[in-house]
Symmetry: C2
Subunit: 452 residues, 2 copies
């Protein structure tokens, strides 16, 4: 992002299509739209308000439905499919790869997905039901089943003759897998190696033995981490008996990597990962209200803490004026720590073996921050309000709250993860509650003791 330009080409097309649509040139829009690649059509739909979106969909050639649906985010896809008659949905999903089909089906309302499954042919239905049975967000769910397998005792020229007979290979095939008589995965041969091999060599002389394989029940985020860590382009998937059941290619993993990375940002702002920028007003308002409700309770709790010091506040209005500074600084410092630890966890850097070290580090930063900002705020307040005692009180409160912020920011996500709560989702609210309450108590409490 930042200064980087958008892809100019796509932006220009988008504007041209919007303009043509606004002036009712539907024939023109249809022509432009149907000449775009599926990824661009998906981008155009995702960048349009609901009404434009359904107008565009109606102008789209039905042959492209499947390819475009594959590329859409869940929210947008569901909105579009809900408007289609079931037969059209079946047609659109017919030629999809297993992985895309499973994902699309699982995001549809039960009744629609049952209709679609019923009207599919036997073999496709079995493949889809198998993928669905592994459970959403697992390797089995995102894998493709169109692997090409070789036997260890076959020679290269036999394989080449077979491949020439077969004609086309599945999309993005970069590796052939070698399986035993019982379908156990025993090796792999990169496609490029077949090209450079002498014709009479056999597969077992050529293959890499015991390749790394992904268990079919592994969560997709772990699959994504493995692809990132080992720079894989594709990987075989095996069941509990080490039988080859499919393969995962990196283009399926790229979306997971982006979603995982975005998840924390969206959650920390109290948004649904899949929230569509152009969703209808009512739907957006409803989705965002959960977070606002939680925040209202938190804000009222902070107010209740201030309420304990009503007598102090009514005697010294200056305390009311300065009451927000210490909580605010604690909130920012705590959120820095929280965000860093959450990201560290997502990257797999934070583990039980180093979390104690990490907490001490963040405590040290909190203490150092406390000293720096306490001195600074004390000077500002002493100058502004001409009151050194008040400066001392706010400095003390700042010290306490910065240490609390560091401690809470580092320990909260670690504790929440142990309790199987997503730290990105609730961490920031709990943290702010802590820094608000500690900040107000420290400031108004010390002021009550020392200044009255």
């Amino acid at each position: 992002m930042g200064e980087a330009l958008e892809s100019k080409h796509a932006q220009t097309q988008l504007q041209a299509i919007n303009k043509a649509l606004a002036s009712g040139m539907f024939v023109h829009v249809r022509k432009m739209l149907n000449s775009l690649p599926p990824g661009d059509i998906a981008l155009l739909l995702e960048s349009s308000p609901a009404r434009t979106r359904s107008e565009l969909w109606q102008l789209l050639d039905a042959d492209f439905y499947g390819d475009v649906i594959e590329e859409l985010s869940e929210d947008v896809r569901n909105g579009i499919i809900r408007q289609m008659v079931p037969e059209k949905v079946v047609d659109a999903l017919e030629d999809m790869d297993t992985d895309d089909l499973a994902e699309t089906l699982s995001s549809l309302p039960e009744s629609v997905s049952q209709d679609v499954l019923m009207s599919m042919d036997e073999q496709d239905r079995q493949r889809a039901e198998q993928a669905l049975s592994y459970g959403e967000d697992t390797a089995g769910f995102i894998m493709n089943t169109d692997t090409i397998t070789l036997r260890p005792d076959v020679s290269v020229d036999v394989i080449l003759r077979y491949l020439r007979l077969k004609g086309e290979l599945p999309e993005d095939t970069d590796t052939f897998y070698v399986v035993s008589r019982t379908d156990r995965l025993i090796g792999k041969v990169p496609v490029t190696r077949l090209l450079t091999a002498v014709p009479d060599i056999t597969v077992d002389e050529l293959m890499d033995e015991e390749p790394e394989a992904i268990p079919v029940h592994m969560p997709e985020t772990d699959v994504a981490k493995l692809f990132e860590r080992y720079d894989w382009i594709s990987a075989p998937v095996v069941d509990e008996h080490h039988h080859l059941v499919g393969r995962i290619t990196i283009d399926d993993v790229v979306d997971i990597i982006r979603e995982d990375a975005e998840h924390s940002m969206m959650s920390m702002a109290g948004l649904d990962d899949e929230e569509d920028t152009f969703a209808p007003v009512m739907q957006s308002t409803q989705r965002r209200s959960v977070w606002l409700a939680v925040n209202l309770v938190t804000a009222l709790m902070a107010a209740a803490v201030s309420d304990l010091f009503e007598a102090t506040l009514s005697q010294m209005a200056v305390l009311a004026i300065l009451n927000t500074i210490v909580p605010s600084m604690g909130g920012v410092a705590g959120n820095q720590t929280l965000t860093l630890v959450i990201r560290g966890m997502a990257l797999g850097h934070v583990s039980p073996s180093n979390s104690r070290w990490l907490v001490s580090k963040e405590l040290a930063i909190g203490a150092l921050n406390g000293i720096i900002w306490a001195l600074l705020i004390a000077s500002v307040i002493a100058l502004w309000k001409q009151d050194f005692a008040l400066g001392g009180v706010i400095a003390f409160a700042m010290m306490v709250n910065m240490v609390a912020a560091g401690l809470a920011g580092a320990t909260l996500p670690i504790i929440m993860k142990k309790m199987k709560i997503d730290p990105a989702l609730a961490g920031s609210v709990i943290l702010t509650t802590i820094t608000d309450v500690v900040g107000i108590f420290a400031f108004l409490g010390t002021a009550t003791l020392l200044l009255l």
Copy 2:
């Protein structure tokens, strides 16, 4: 993240190595460490405090230096290279691919990278200097130059014979590029197609003509968007004369996709993208202080606004107690909008042609939110403080601030982008300042007018 398990295997190894290190079993650690793949060694280093990190590095076999350095994040890499003698750095970087080499060199201190360049052989130095000349974060910088090119009039069996002679192909080769006599890119042939083709067919009958190509000066974030949108595994890179100059493979792009997605989250919390979870205390404190300083100024501004109403506050302490509720709700609502718009921009969904629609939508959500939360807070305050007029005042302030939050959250990133300021970096501070100031003004101002 969330409930997903970490990769158990790596975690267990990590703990085993840490334990062995703590008990001084260096021979054992060395053995375990050097049996790991480079990606795992990099993860282990990134998950360790500075001291453990340099102990581990000393135990690592020098043969692995290059492969591990490639996988490290910038901050950690620089820390390690700074401790190495230049000759060792040269040895480590010797066998690197152009793209990794360019990236590593550009992140080193000038003096070290000059030393490294000087001690490289002529051909490698030219390649590295060429990549560096395209400028960091461009396609030319992240591309590899080891493409295999074909001429259109050559037959498949000639190519196969050539490839067998040549032996190994460059890593992750999935496509051969077809160039004219003048090196212009005119087509591409997927590796798999060569396998299934009949031997006497020529390249021009086999190739896809005019393949999509990436201009060498395209920013890397745009390159990443293209890979995501079109599900590419690799793509050719061309110069301004459409001459083939290299290729980009998806494993180089995956890191960019993650970094781009993380950038907003880290920036919004006031953190450097590359901030190392295990950086030394002083370095972390210094980096985070910028954001805390900005927040202190903001908090003081909000206090200054409250200060205008000192007379009101000293007459009604209850206003001081409730003063934080309206700004806090506005801040959360505004941040939801801001986050959504920033993500929409990063995904290329928000453009001039739909931004007016988006702003109206967020204004409508703001107004709706205003009504909902105004009614709720009015009821709570009327019950808690037994004061209906006070409930009315806070309800009015809530309405005003929620609309301001929606407006600011939607327009700020759009305006900032036009001004070429990164909205993720400064947007959240400016937004909070607006919701704080508007919230306090609306609440204390209305209270002064109506309640005194």
